[in-house]
């Protein structure tokens, strides 16, 4: 394939970075090489015999390659590999560890919508969607991928600094018996018990309960 003697140092730290199953291969440039290094990428499905080249990541100078489309079947596991080229020299193929999209992805926090009455707050939680090829593509919630998905919800009384933590399975939560005319801040996190996965907490969404009309 026209590759000369492979004495170029290898790409380093070849690994997948995955968020909501958007699976992007990342690596670092070979040690001691300045600009001008080009790369090519291949991937394989674990258990299947062949490596498949990724044409869109051939002769690229960036150090990442989006393989979300190629690794979208989360019932499979994958390897990916990168080779570097510079001035007619090349490196070895450097592989990732075995990548399992189901257990190795990170999950974004849920979307949080809050509304209030005089003495209660209603919270609607929405899990992020799995990565999809195009905006018109079918939307798959991570709730469908992880049936055991649950939410941790934190509610803070801004006046008293008192905080409650709730753990809910469905996507709505009503917090009753609150003080009228008081600001509360809500933040939520996703967690899945098996496989063990959890998102960070969302940013805080603050809202005030309505003032007591009778007062």
């Amino acid at each position: 394939s026209g590759e000369l003697y492979c004495s170029l140092p290898n790409p380093r730290n070849v690994h997948f970075e995955s968020i909501n199953m958007k699976n992007v291969l990342h690596w670092s440039a070979p040690e001691g090489t300045g600009d001008g290094v080009l790369y090519k990428v291949k991937y394989s499905v674990y258990g299947v015999g062949k490596w498949i080249r990724k044409p869109e990541c051939k002769n690229i100078n960036r150090t990442w390659c989006d393989l979300s489309s190629e690794t979208s079947d989360y019932e499979e596991q994958y390897y990916a590999s990168v080779k570097a080229f510079l001035n007619g020299m090349c490196s070895d193929w450097m592989e990732t560890t075995r990548f399992n999209p189901l257990t190795d992805t990170k999950i974004d926090p849920p979307m949080v919508i809050v509304s209030s009455t005089e003495k209660s707050i209603s919270i609607i939680l929405t899990a992020p969607e799995k990565w999809k090829r195009s905006p018109e593509g079918e939307s798959i919630s991570l709730l469908q991928v992880y049936p055991g998905l649950q939410y941790n919800v934190s509610v803070l009384n801004k006046k008293t600094k008192k905080r409650w933590l709730f753990s809910v399975s469905n996507n709505t939560l009503v917090v009753p018996w609150l003080e009228p005319g008081t600001a509360y801040c809500v933040s939520a996190q996703i967690y899945v018990t098996t496989p063990l996965l959890h998102s960070g907490f969302s940013k805080e969404y603050c809202i005030a309960t309505l003032k007591d009309k009778t007062a």
């Binding site: 394989s44 258990g47 062949k50 019932e75 560890t97 399992n100 189901l102 098996t194 496989p195």
Partner: protein, 152 residues
């Protein structure tokens, strides 16, 4: 106990310490999978994925697989790393208790084996016997997440 999950296979109900098994496996996954250089063969997934097994056969396949791991895998997975060995034996103990529970279901005819599960398990054994024992055992152990993902 926390982290246990109840699995319903028709009338066979068993509790499995999935979280414990998963965290034990997660701790040694990279180490074990790095010892398996064969990318082109899978014990559990090929040629047919576990996900293609009919639901009526799930109990029997699960029963056969837990027997397989206890009888043919864990005992051949000794490594030079005592930490890894401890994790393996902890997983093996969890598998042993599940194997017993499934065995009771099987004896009570609640875990019947159809032709498909028999064929599927025969294929898994053929994949296993296609390698030398240690390589086959290490590869099978490295595929534990495939089994757990499918079970769940």
């Amino acid at each position: 106990t926390a982290g246990n999950k109840i699995f319903h296979f028709g009338s066979c109900r068993i509790s499995v310490s999935v979280t414990e098994i998963r965290s034990g496996f997660a701790a040694i996954k990279a180490n074990i999978q790095a010892r398996d250089p064969i990318r082109t063969l899978s014990i559990l997934s090929y040629p047919h994925s576990l996900h293609k097994v009919k639901s009526s056969d799930r109990c029997c396949i699960t029963y056969q697989l837990f027997n397989f791991y206890v009888d043919k895998v864990f005992k051949h997975c000794k490594t030079e790393d005592s930490y890894v060995n401890r994790k393996i034996s902890s997983i093996a103990n969890s598998f042993l208790s599940v194997k017993r529970k499934l065995g009771q279901c099987h004896e009570q005819n609640k875990c019947m084996c159809g032709q498909e599960s028999t064929e599927k398990f025969k294929q898994i054994l053929a994949n296993y016997e296609g390698l030398n024992v240690t390589s086959a055992a290490i590869k099978s152990l490295g595929e534990l997440d495939i089994l757990l993902d499918w079970m769940e």
